[in-house]
């Protein structure tokens, strides 16, 4: 119970710290992915008319939004806390590092909830054929966030400077989207990197989101892989994010 209270409290601190930045907050989480959806439709040309393509673009934009939220934005937040000395404030308290991470992660989940909902509404308004399997979609989104947040935590814990860290989170946040078959099919990826691309967490996330958006549920493998990846990255993040230095 104490741990839950700690997590909620860290979440409230982050929320209070950003509540006056609603504009950039939404811009980061929604406008960019929504623009990417329109951009993908635009350059797809005739192909964009197909329902499958529009569905892929919408799923891709949702995963893009999750990537931005979980790696770029959350990573930035963690880096800012670390390199401005705020992390020291938390370290002076009888607070477990994992509670701090989960508090920040809760904040990322809330942000992802807002951006995903908005993208779904936009998709529906633009005539994308969706009938989401909501329980499974929510599960996929949660696992994707956990997995990508773990990467953000690892970068934030290991970066030697703020600029190095933010460069890495930005690169990874965008790279995981554009190197993986998120906006396009695996066949469009050069054979040399195809195998690598298909192992990225965003590949599994995009496929699972696409299937659940049409009401499907055959995502067992994707869920399993995302779960394992989330466990792995978070375990590494928890291990690296410590209050005590050696």
């Amino acid at each position: 119970m104490t741990r839950v209270m700690d997590i909620i409290c860290v979440f409230r601190i982050q929320l209070a710290g950003t509540r006056r930045e609603v504009g950039p907050f939404l811009l980061a989480a929604f406008v960019f992915p929504a623009a990417m959806y329109l951009f993908a439709n635009g350059i797809a040309g005739v192909e964009a008319a197909s329902e499958a393509s529009r569905l892929r673009f919408l799923a891709g934009s949702i995963v893009f939004s999750l990537s931005l939220t979980s790696i770029s934005w959350l990573g930035y937040l963690l880096l800012e806390n670390r390199f401005t000395g705020r992390l020291k404030l938390f370290a002076t308290l009888p607070l477990a590092p994992s509670s701090y991470i989960f508090g920040v992660l809760l904040f990322a989940i809330a942000q992802a909830g807002v951006s995903t909902t908005t993208l779904l509404l936009i998709g529906r308004a633009l005539g994308v054929p969706i009938s989401p399997n909501f329980p499974l979609l929510i599960l996929v989104i949660l696992l994707t966030i956990l997995c990508l947040c773990g990467l953000g935590v690892v970068i934030a814990a290991r970066a030697r400077s703020f600029s190095q860290g933010s460069l890495l989170t930005d690169t990874l946040g965008a790279g995981l989207i554009f190197l993986a078959p998120v906006y396009y099919t695996p066949a469009a990826i050069p054979p040399v990197i195809r195998v690598f691309a298909q192992l990225l967490p965003t590949t599994f996330a995009a496929r699972a989101v696409r299937i659940t958006l049409t009401g499907g549920h055959a995502i067992g493998t994707d869920l399993l892989v995302l779960s394992l990846m989330a466990l792995g990255t978070l375990a590494l993040g928890f291990r690296l994010m410590r209050w005590r230095e050696d």
Partner: protein
């Protein structure tokens, strides 16, 4: 107030534990910190702090004060040695040890967009205070720190001194039995510094024990019950001010300038008695001079053989 220092020497302070555990707030034994590059920041520091006393750790920048406090607050793992806080092994159980501590780090950042009140209320919750207790504690600390008019201001709009006071206030939340303050008054104006001293004294009156580091000698002299002098990673002296001064063979100080050369540097001489000082003044026909008891700064010079950095001894107000 009883001293536990058995002997003082430039290199070591040998002492024994004479206190029952129930009276000891902090016990540190043979604390050693060697960094990866081989730097020996702390070299075998041992001391005991009794419940309810204020201990100041003094020394010039780079002496090892902050490393010492960071190990005490569990932020840094010692290379060797033990730290016990209210009978809890702080090296093995850092989380449990921190429950009895209020810590002000030397440098920590606040949340620019949170108000003063939000800082205190939210961090009080993280110190396990109930919602009601948090509100009361926040109100009390804001009042004690003289930050009433700033209660609802965002921290980003406050001055450096006000932010420093907030950091100190965060450590006071929940009235922890041990306060560890790393250079709490650095950057504060003399008036604010005196306010902080009053706060620290009040915390002690309410039952807290305080360990603080400072490079203001006057602060250590005026505020603390006992003083630990650290130089080059070693605790070279530990005791009350009187004890430290009594270990000086010549504890009277005479400062003067060459009467025939107004541009000459100030000369400082030490004497065993005031009579000797007067004798020297008459013999040297000094007309412009000042005399007084030796200070902590002189103790540092006597023990370490090095002058304390002038820049660091600015008046503490």
């Amino acid at each position: 107030m009883t001293a536990t220092v058995e002997s003082l020497s430039p290199n070591t302070v040998q002492r024994r534990s004479a206190l029952p555990t129930s009276e000891v707030a902090v016990r540190i034994c043979d604390l050693v910190k060697t960094y990866g590059d081989g730097t020996e920041a702390n070299r075998g520091i041992s001391l005991e702090v009794r419940r309810g006393e204020i201990v100041a750790v003094v020394g010039p920048n780079g002496a090892g004060k902050t490393t010492f406090l960071r190990q005490l607050t569990t932020e840094l793992r010692p290379t060797r040695g033990s730290v016990t806080v209210f009978a809890v092994d702080a090296v093995a159980e850092p989380g449990r040890a921190k429950r009895s501590m209020g810590i002000t780090p030397q440098e920590a950042g606040l949340f620019e967009r949170l108000t003063v009140r939000e800082h205190f209320e939210l961090f009080a919750r993280l110190k396990r205070l109930s919602r009601k207790e948090s509100l009361v504690a926040a109100q009390q600390v804001i009042q004690d720190l003289g930050l009433g008019p700033e209660t609802n201001k965002k921290v980003g709009a406050l001055s450096g001194g006000q932010r420093r006071r907030i950091l100190i206030g965060l450590s006071l939340l929940g009235r922890p039995p041990l306060l560890v303050l790393d250079e709490p008054t650095t950057g504060l104006d003399p008036s604010s510094r005196r306010d902080v001293w009053r706060l620290i004294r009040r915390a002690v009156d309410q039952g807290s024990t305080v360990i603080l580091s400072t490079h203001y000698m006057e602060e250590a002299e005026r505020l603390s019950d006992r003083i630990g002098v650290i130089a080059k990673g070693k605790l070279i002296a530990f005791g009350t001010l009187d004890e430290l001064l009594s270990n000086l063979e010549r504890s009277y100080r005479l400062s003067y300038r060459n009467p025939t050369d107004k541009l000459s540097e100030t000369q400082v001489l030490y004497f065993a008695s005031f009579a000797e000082v007067r004798h020297h003044i008459h013999r040297a026909l000094l007309t412009e001079y000042s005399t007084g008891r030796a200070s902590l700064e002189d103790v540092f010079f006597e023990l370490s053989g090095e002058p304390f950095d002038k820049d660091e001894t600015e008046a503490a107000g």
